[in-house]
C-alpha cells in the first residue's frame, strides 16, 4: 500500500485543529471539486483532498492515521501489527486497497463504509463513466465494452479492488453530452439494499465533416462564386446518404441552407436537421481564360458590396 501524507495534501501542520483542517479543505474543494472545476486533474486531486478531510476531521480516524507513522508520499508501507484490531474489526488484504479504502472501512465512514454483516441496509454505489463513440455509432446505435476497477466487499467483509466488465447497448439517438442510465449495474447493495446504477456520459468523437448541436448537424458547404450567384444543384453528404441540394441564385456566404430531418436520429422518433453553411471559395490559381473572364465581369458589373460604407459615413 502506498503512503499518502494527508496533512501535506491539505497543506496543514500535523497538529492543526479541526477548524484549520476544515478551512483548508473548503478552500481546496472550491478549487478542485469536479462539479465546478474544469481542471483536467481536478477530479483526481479532489478525491485526494476529500479522502484526507474524511480521515482528519474524524478524531478516531485521525488517531488511526497518525499511528501509521510518517513516510514519504508514494512510499510502500504496511500498517503496524495489530493496527486493524486496534482501530476496527475489519480484515484487510493490504495488497489491493488504497489508503482511502482502508479508512473508509473504519467505523464512522461514509456511504461506502457499510459492510456486509454490519446490519446496515444500503444501496450500492453509483458509477459514472464516459463512453466515447463516433457520430456513425450514435446514429446507428452501438455496444460498448466498459472495464472498471471498483472497491467491493466480499462475503467475508473484506475490501478488494475488483475489475468489472460490462457490455452496454447504446441505443440509436445518442447526442453529445447525453446521459444513459444502466439500472442496477453499479456497486452491489449491502444488507439487501438495491444495487447502484451505472451512468454513461456520451462523448462524440469530432467528425471530419459535421459539427454537432444536440441532434442537429452543421456542415460547411463550399460554393464557387458563380454557383452562389447563378444558383446550382450540389451533392451534399448526410448521415443517411447523399442528397441533391438546390442552392438558390444570389446565395451569400454564411447563409444556412436547412435540410429537414437529415441530422441525427433522436432516441424515440424523429431526426434533427442538417444545416449546410455556405462558404464562397475563390480559386487561388487562375488560368489565363479564367483571369480574362473575371476581368470582363469586373468591368461589366455595377455591383458594389461596400456601398453602405459611404452611406453610413455621410449620416
Amino acid at each position: 500500500m502506498k503512503y499518502k501524507d494527508y496533512y501535506q495534501i491539505l497543506g496543514v501542520e500535523r497538529d492543526a485543529g479541526i477548524d484549520a483542517i476544515k478551512k483548508a479543505y473548503r478552500k481546496l474543494a472550491h478549487k478542485y471539486h469536479p462539479d465546478v472545476s474544469k481542471d483536467p486533474v481536478g477530479e483526481e486531486k479532489f478525491k485526494e483532498i476529500a479522502d484526507a478531510y474524511q480521515t482528519l476531521k474524524d478524531p478516531q480516524k485521525r488517531a488511526a492515521y497518525d499511528q501509521l507513522g510518517r513516510h514519504q508520499p508514494g512510499q510502500d508501507f504496511e500498517p503496524p501489527p495489530d493496527w486493524g484490531r486496534q482501530f476496527g474489526d475489519t480484515q484487510f488484504s493490504f495488497d489491493d486497497v488504497d489508503l482511502a479504502d482502508l479508512f473508509a472501512g473504519l467505523a464512522g465512514g461514509r456511504r461506502r463504509a457499510a459492510r456486509p454483516g454490519g446490519g446496515v441496509n444500503m444501496p450500492g454505489q453509483d458509477y459514472e463513466v464516459t463512453a466515447h463513440i463516433t457520430l456513425d455509432e450514435a446514429c446507428r446505435g452501438t455496444t460498448v465494452e466498459l472495464n472498471l476497477t471498483v472497491p467491493e466487499y466480499d462475503e467475508h467483509g473484506r475490501l478488494h479492488r475488483v475489475p468489472r466488465s460490462f457490455k452496454a447497448r447504446i441505443p440509436k439517438g445518442a447526442a453529445d453530452g447525453q446521459r444513459l442510465r444502466l439500472r442496477g449495474k453499479g456497486g452491489k447493495g449491502i444488507g439487501g439494499g438495491p444495487d447502484g446504477d451505472l451512468y454513461l456520459n456520451i462523448a462524440l468523437h469530432p467528425h471530419a465533416l459535421y459539427r454537432v448541436s444536440g441532434h442537429d448537424l452543421y456542415l460547411d458547404l463550399p460554393l464557387t462564386p458563380w454557383e452562389a450567384a447563378l444558383g446550382a444543384v450540389v451533392e451534399v453528404p448526410t448521415p443517411s446518404g447523399s442528397v441533391h441540394l438546390k442552392v438558390p441564385p444570389g446565395t451569400h456566404a454564411g447563409q444556412k441552407l436547412r435540410l429537414a430531418r437529415r441530422g441525427m436520429p433522436m432516441p424515440d422518433t424523429g431526426e434533427g436537421d442538417l444545416y449546410a453553411i455556405v462558404q464562397i471559395v475563390v480559386p487561388t490559381v487562375l488560368s489565363e481564360r479564367e483571369r480574362a473572364l473575371y476581368k470582363e465581369l469586373s468591368e461589366a458589373s455595377t455591383f458594389d458590396p461596400r456601398g453602405h460604407f459611404e452611406r453610413e459615413i455621410r449620416k
Binding site: 473548503r26 453529445d176 444513459l180 444536440g214 460547411d220
Partner: protein
C-alpha cells in the same frame, strides 16, 4: 471474464420521472426536493397535479448539487442556489456548443 449485458435508458428531456424515482436517482430526500421546488430552483412538469413528474435531464444536475452539498456541507438555501447556477451553466454550455457548431471549420 465474460461481460455482463446491460440495458440502457436515456435521461433526457423526453423522459419523465416521478418524485419517488427522483429521490432514488438524485440521492436527495423528498423533503429536500419539495424545498427546492419551493425555492423555485426545481420545477415539476405538472405542478397542478398531486403526483409530480420531472424532466429526466434534471437528474444529473441534482446529483451534482447533492455531491456539492455533501462535500462542501451546504445548507438548503445554498443547495437551491447551486442548482439554479448549475442549470444556468448547462444552458450557457448548450448555447456555446450550438454557436460553436455554426463556426466554419476552416477559412476558405
Amino acid at each position: 471474464m465474460k461481460p455482463e449485458q446491460a440495458d440502457a435508458m436515456w435521461l433526457d428531456a423526453h423522459c419523465e420521472i416521478s418524485i419517488g424515482e427522483l429521490v432514488q436517482l438524485s440521492g436527495l430526500s423528498e423533503a429536500e426536493l419539495r424545498e427546492l421546488v419551493d425555492y423555485g430552483a426545481l420545477a415539476p412538469n405538472n405542478p397542478q397535479e398531486s403526483e409530480w413528474a420531472f424532466s429526466g435531464d434534471i437528474v444529473f444536475m441534482l446529483q451534482a448539487a447533492g455531491r456539492l452539498r455533501d462535500d462542501l456541507e451546504l445548507d438548503a438555501q445554498t443547495l437551491a442556489l447551486t442548482l439554479t447556477l448549475l442549470k444556468r451553466i448547462r444552458e450557457l454550455e448548450t448555447q456555446i456548443d450550438h454557436l460553436r457548431a455554426q463556426l466554419p471549420r476552416r477559412r476558405p
